[in-house]
C-alpha cells in the first residue's frame, strides 16, 4: 500500500512544482500589466505549496516500512525545520518589507528541497544544514541594519580586495584538504569541527570590490589594476585546484566589467583569453585533463574517472520523467551526492520533470534578480545586484550542467540546495543583499536619485588617484 502511495506521491510533487511555477508566472504577469490572478494570492499559494511539499516529504521520510510506524527523528526534524520555514517567511517579510516576495518563495522552495533531500541522504548533514541556514537567516536579517549604519560602503574597495587575497592565501598555510582541493579551513575541537571554504566568503567580497570600482567611469589605469587583481584571484584558485571557483570568479568579473562598460569587444576579448587559458590549463594540469576526459567519454573509464558522472546519468535516466519516488532510488551510489551531485539525486527520486522545474525556479530567480538590477536607479547598487545574480546563476549553471554532462564537471555547490555550510551562508547573504537593493530602490524611487556615473576620482575617497 505504501508503495502505491509513494508512486502517487511522485505526481503530487510534480504537481506542487508546476503549480508553484505557474503562480510565479501569475505574479510576474501582474507586474507586466497582464492579469492572470491576484499576485497576493499567488504568493500565498506558493507559500502553502512549500508547506505542503514539506509535510508530504517528511511524512514519507518518517514512515518505517518494517514497523509501520512513523520514526521519531524525521518527524522532530521535520517539525523543527517547518517552524524554521514559517519563521523565515514571517521575519523576512518584516525585515525586508518592500523586497520581492517571489525571490523569497523561490529561495525557500529550494532550501526546503535541500532539507528534504539531505534528510533522505544523511539526517546528520540535514541537521547541520538547518543550523547553517539559521545562521544565514540571522545574517540576512542583520544585513539591512548594517547597510543603513554604513551608507557608503563602496569606499572600502581596497579593503575588500585585500581581504579577498587574505582569505584565499590563508588556506595555503592553514588549509586542510577535502575533496582534492586544499581550500578549506577547519575550526573547533575534533568533536564538533566546523570546516568552511574561505573562497565562499571571498565571492561576497569580490562582488563588493568590483561594484565599488565599476561604479565610477573606468579609466585605463583602474581597468588594468582590477583586471590584474582579479586575474590574480583566479590564478590562486586554479593553483588550489578549485576550477569551479576560478570559473565563477572569472565569469563574475567579465559580466560586471561588461555591465559597467557596455563594451562587447572587451567581453569577447576576455572570453577569447579565457579559452586560451583553458587550453593552457588543459595542457599543464593533469587533473584538468582527467575532468575533460571524464566529460567527453565517461563510458570509456566507468570504474575510475567516469564513475561519478556515469552514476549521475544512471540516476537521472533510469526512472524516467517521474522518478523513482522519494526513498526508492539509489542516490547514495553517486559519489559526493550530498553537495555536488544533489541535482542528480533530486532527478532520481522526484523525477526529471521535477528537476526541470528546479531549473525553472533558477530561471525565475535570475529573472527577478535582473529585474531588480534594472529597476535600480543607483548605478552602484544596480551593478551589485547584477553581479550577485550573475554569480549565483552561473554557479548554478556550472553544477547543473556538470551533473547532467552538458559541460565538464567542476565541484561547486548548487546554491541553496547542496549541502555546504559556507555555501549556504554566503548564498543567503547574497540574496539578502539583492533584496536589500530592491528595498533601497523601492524606497528611493520617488526621490529620483539618479546618480549619473561620476568621473574618475571624484567619488572614490582619494583611493583611486
Amino acid at each position: 500500500m505504501f508503495d502505491l502511495l509513494l508512486m502517487l506521491s511522485r505526481y503530487v510533487f510534480l504537481f506542487y512544482i508546476v503549480l508553484f511555477l505557474w503562480q510565479g508566472i501569475v505574479y510576474i504577469a501582474y507586474e507586466q500589466g497582464g492579469y492572470l490572478g491576484s499576485p497576493y494570492r499567488a504568493i500565498s499559494i506558493q507559500r502553502s505549496l512549500i508547506v505542503l511539499m514539506h509535510v508530504t516529504a517528511f511524512l514519507i521520510l518518517a514512515y518505517n516500512r518494517e514497523t509501520h510506524l512513523f520514526g521519531m527523528q524525521p518527524l522532530v526534524f521535520g517539525a523543527v525545520s517547518f517552524v524554521f520555514l514559517l519563521a523565515a517567511v514571517a521575519l523576512l517579510d518584516r525585515f525586508y518589507y518592500e523586497g520581492c516576495p517571489l525571490v523569497w518563495t523561490g529561495m525557500l522552495f529550494l532550501m526546503d528541497l535541500s532539507l528534504i533531500m539531505l534528510q533522505r541522504l544523511s539526517p546528520a548533514l540535514a541537521q547541520r544544514q538547518l543550523l547553517w541556514m539559521g545562521i544565514g537567516l540571522a545574517g540576512m536579517l542583520v544585513l539591512p541594519f548594517f547597510f543603513r549604519l554604513i551608507p557608503r560602503f563602496e569606499v572600502f574597495e581596497w579593503a575588500y580586495i585585500i581581504l579577498c587575497y587574505g582569505l584565499l592565501i590563508c588556506t595555503r598555510f592553514f588549509g586542510v584538504e577535502k575533496g582534492g582541493s586544499t581550500n578549506w579551513l577547519a575550526f573547533g575541537p575534533e568533536s564538533f569541527r566546523i570546516t568552511f571554504q574561505p573562497s565562499e566568503i571571498a565571492k561576497f567580497l569580490f562582488i563588493f570590490y568590483l561594484a565599488s570600482v565599476f561604479r565610477k567611469r573606468l579609466n585605463w589605469r583602474s581597468f588594468f589594476t582590477t583586471g590584474i587583481l582579479s586575474a590574480g584571484l583566479v590564478l590562486l584558485l586554479v593553483l588550489q585546484k578549485d576550477l569551479g571557483g576560478a570559473l565563477i570568479f572569472f565569469m563574475t568579473y567579465m559580466v560586471m566589467l561588461y555591465i559597467a562598460t557596455s563594451n562587447e569587444l572587451l567581453f569577447l576579448l576576455g572570453m577569447g583569453a579565457a579559452s586560451g587559458a583553458a587550453m593552457l590549463a588543459y595542457k599543464l594540469f593533469s587533473h584538468v585533463r582527467v575532468r575533460v576526459a571524464a566529460w567527453q567519454n565517461p563510458w570509456a573509464d566507468i570504474d575510475f574517472g567516469g564513475y561519478q558522472i556515469v552514476n549521475a546519468l544512471f540516476a537521472i535516466t533510469t526512472w524516467g520523467v517521474f522518478g523513482s519516488g522519494l526513498t526508492k532510488g539509489m542516490p547514495k551510489s553517486i559519489p559526493v551526492v550530498e553537495s555536488d551531485m544533489i541535482f542528480a539525486a533530486v532527478c532520481e527520486e522526484f523525477g526529471a520533470a521535477f528537476g526541470a522545474g528546479v531549473i525553472a525556479i533558477f530561471i525565475m530567480l535570475l529573472y527577478r534578480g535582473v529585474r531588480i538590477a534594472l529597476d535600480c536607479g543607483r548605478r552602484y547598487y544596480a551593478i551589485l545586484a547584477a553581479g550577485v545574480t550573475a554569480m549565483l546563476s552561473f554557479q548554478a549553471f556550472l553544477i547543473l550542467g556538470g551533473s547532467i554532462k552538458l559541460i565538464p564537471l567542476t565541484g561547486v555547490t548548487l546554491p541553496f540546495v547542496s549541502y555546504g555550510g559556507s555555501s549556504v551562508l554566503v548564498s543567503l547573504m547574497m540574496m539578502g543583499l539583492l533584496q536589500w537593493v530592491c528595498v533601497y530602490c523601492e524606497q528611493h524611487n520617488r526621490q529620483e536619485i539618479e546618480q549619473e556615473p561620476i568621473l574618475n576620482g571624484a567619488e572614490g575617497g582619494g583611493f583611486d588617484e
Binding site: 526529471a352 535570475l366 544596480a382
Partner: protein, 466 residues
C-alpha cells in the same frame, strides 16, 4: 545608465540561454538517450529491482521462448534458458554480470509497462510485476541447424536477411551453458578457448580470399579496362619483396576477373591490386563500410583496417588477397555478402525485432536502417554474377543447394595460430536473395566451410518459405 541596462538585459539573455540549454539537454537525456544510458550493464539500479520484478522473456521470431524467469523457492526468480547452448551467444547470460541480449535489452526486460496499473494489481490482487519481453529476429530452426552443423568445430556462422539486416542466426563455438554460468564461472572466464567470446561478432580473422570480392569491386570502380585485364598465372608471382602463391601453387593459366574469382587466383588479384594502387583500394575498403561502426545491439569488435595510401606494395598485394594485417568479424562478412545481394545497399544488422508487453501488446519495433551504399546496383550485379560462377564452376561447389542458384566466395586464410581458417560468404537464391551467410572455421585447413554454408542455406531457405 541606459547602456548599462541594455548590457544587463543582454547578460540576462545569455544566462537564460544557458539554463534553457540545460532544460533541453535534460530533456534529451530522459526522453531520447534514456534507454541507451540506463541499459548499460554497469547500471546497478536495474539489478536492484531484480527480485521484485519478473524479468521479461526473450523469444525467437516464431515466439519460442529462449530465456525466461521462473519463480524461485522463497522469493525472487531464477533465469532459465530452455535452449541452453544452442542460443548461448545470442541470449548471453544474466547472472555474473550480463551479456548478449540480456545486456543489450536489460532496460526493456526490467521495465514495467503501465507501471501504475501493474503496481496497483500487485497490491490489490497480489499479481506479479512482469517486465517487457523482447522478440528477436533469430529463427531457432536455422540457429539449431547452424549449431548442429558447426558441431564442436571452433568457428562461427552468421545468417542475415539481406534486404533488412535482420540476423536470422548467430552461432559460435566454443560456447557455454547460460544456465550454469555462475556455477562454472571460474572455469569459463579464464578458459584458453575463451568460450564466453562470441566469435561471430567479436572474433577478428584475416578474411582470406573472401576479400577478393572487395578487390574486384575496387578494380571495377577504378580500372576502365578491367574487363580486358588478364594475368598469366604460373602459380606464383613476385612483388617487391613478396612472393605470392596460389593455393597449393596451382597454376591457373590465363585468367580474367571472372576466371580468377572462380579459381580464387591469388596472382591475378595481387596484380590487379598493384594496378589499382593502395590509396584507391583503401578508399574502396572504406566505402564498403569496413571502418564503419555497424551499430549492432550485441557487443562487437570493429574490423582492423590498416591499408592506406602510404602502404608498401607487399602490404598492398597481401591485403588484396585477404592476408596481411586486415582483420574482420564473421558478422561483417555476412553484412558484405548481404550488401552485394541487396544491390549494393548495406543494411544495419539487428537482432531485436520488437518489444512485447505482458498483456501481449506490441512495443517499440526496430525499423530496418540503411548503413551505407557500398557500390552501384550494376557493380553489385557484376559481383553477383562472378559469385554465382564460384559456386557453379569454381571453388565453392560444396555450397551448392539443389534447385537454387547460390552465389558465394570461398576463402582460406593463413594465420599465426595454426592451420588455415576456412571461410565462405554468400547468398541465395541469386536471382532474388533471401538469405546471406558467412561461415568461418578456425584452423580447419580443408574447405568445409562451404559445405556447412550450403546446408545452412538450404535450412534457412526452407524456413524462409522458399
Amino acid at each position: 545608465m541606459n547602456n548599462m541596462k541594455r548590457s544587463i538585459r543582454r547578460i540576462f539573455w545569455l544566462l537564460a540561454l544557458c539554463f534553457f540549454l540545460l532544460l533541453g539537454y535534460l530533456g534529451k537525456l530522459t526522453l531520447v538517450d534514456r534507454q541507451t544510458i540506463s541499459g548499460n550493464a554497469y547500471n546497478t539500479r536495474l539489478r536492484y529491482g531484480d527480485d521484485t520484478i519478473r524479468r521479461g522473456e526473450i523469444m525467437d521470431r516464431d515466439g519460442e521462448v529462449i530465456a525466461r524467469s521462473i519463480p524461485a523457492d522463497g522469493s525472487g526468480y531464477n533465469r532459465e534458458y530452455p535452449r541452453s547452448r544452442m542460443a548461448a551467444h545470442i541470449t548471453g547470460y544474466s547472472s555474473v554480470g550480463k551479456t548478449g541480449v540480456e545486456a543489450a535489452e536489460n532496460f526493456e526486460l526490467m521495465t514495467l509497462h503501465n507501471e501504475l496499473f501493474q503496481r496497483l494489481g500487485g497490491i490489490l490482487k497480489k499479481d506479479e510485476l512482469i517486465g517487457n519481453s523482447v522478440k528477436l529476429t533469430v529463427d531457432m530452426d536455422i540457429q539449431s541447424a547452424a549449431g548442429n552443423l558447426l558441431g564442436s568445430a571452433k568457428g562461427a556462422v552468421v545468417v542475415m536477411e539481406p534486404s533488412t539486416g535482420r540476423v536470422l542466426a548467430l552461432q559460435a563455438y566454443p560456447d557455454f551453458d547460460p544456465n550454469k554460468v555462475a556455477a562454472q564461472w571460474e572455469n569459463l572466464k579464464d578458459h584458453e578457448d575463451s568460450p564466453l567470446l562470441n566469435r561471430g561478432t567479436q572474433g577478428i580473422y584475416p578474411p582470406g580470399s573472401t576479400f577478393k570480392t572487395v578487390t574486384a569491386l575496387a578494380g571495377i570502380e577504378y580500372l576502365p579496362d578491367w574487363q580486358t585485364f588478364t594475368v598469366e598465372c604460373t602459380g606464383e608471382a613476385v612483388f617487391e619483396d613478396k612472393i605470392i602463391h596460389c593455393y597449393k601453387n596451382r597454376a591457373h593459366g590465363l585468367v580474367d576477373m571472372k576466371g580468377a574469382m572462380e579459381g580464387s587466383c591469388n596472382c591475378y588479384f595481387a596484380a590487379l591490386a598493384q594496378k589499382i594502387g593502395a590509396g584507391k583500394l583503401a578508399k574502396t575498403m572504406e566505402r564498403v563500410g569496413m571502418k564503419e561502426s555497424c551499430g549492432f545491439e550485441l557487443a562487437y569488435t570493429p574490423n582492423t583496417v590498416l591499408l592506406d595510401s602510404d602502404s608498401t606494395e607487399s602490404e598492398l598485394v597481401e591485403t588484396a588477397i585477404g592476408q596481411g594485417r586486415t582483420g574482420v568479424t564473421p558478422l561483417y562478412m555476412a553484412m558484405l555478402a548481404s550488401a552485394i545481394a541487396n544491390e549494393g545497399l548495406m543494411m544495419r544488422p539487428y537482432i531485436v525485432d520488437h518489444v512485447v508487453y505482458p498483456d501481449g501488446g506490441m512495443g517499440k519495433t526496430t525499423v530496418p536502417k540503411k548503413l551505407t551504399q557500398i557500390c552501384t546496383p550494376e557493380e553489385a550485379a557484376i559481383l553477383k554474377e562472378m559469385m554465382v560462377g564460384v559456386v557453379e564452376n569454381g571453388t565453392g561447389g560444396a555450397a551448392s543447394v539443389s534447385g537454387v542458384t547460390v552465389a558465394g566466395k570461398t576463402g582460406t586464410a593463413e594465420n599465426a595460430t595454426g592451420n588455415d581458417h576456412s571461410w565462405f560468404i554468400g547468398f541465395a537464391p541469386a536471382e532474388e536473395p533471401k538469405v546471406a551467410i558467412a561461415v568461418l572455421l578456425e584452423n580447419a585447413n580443408d574447405g568445409n566451410a562451404s559445405a556447412i554454408a550450403g546446408k545452412v542455406l538450404r535450412a534457412a531457405l526452407e524456413e524462409m518459405g522458399e
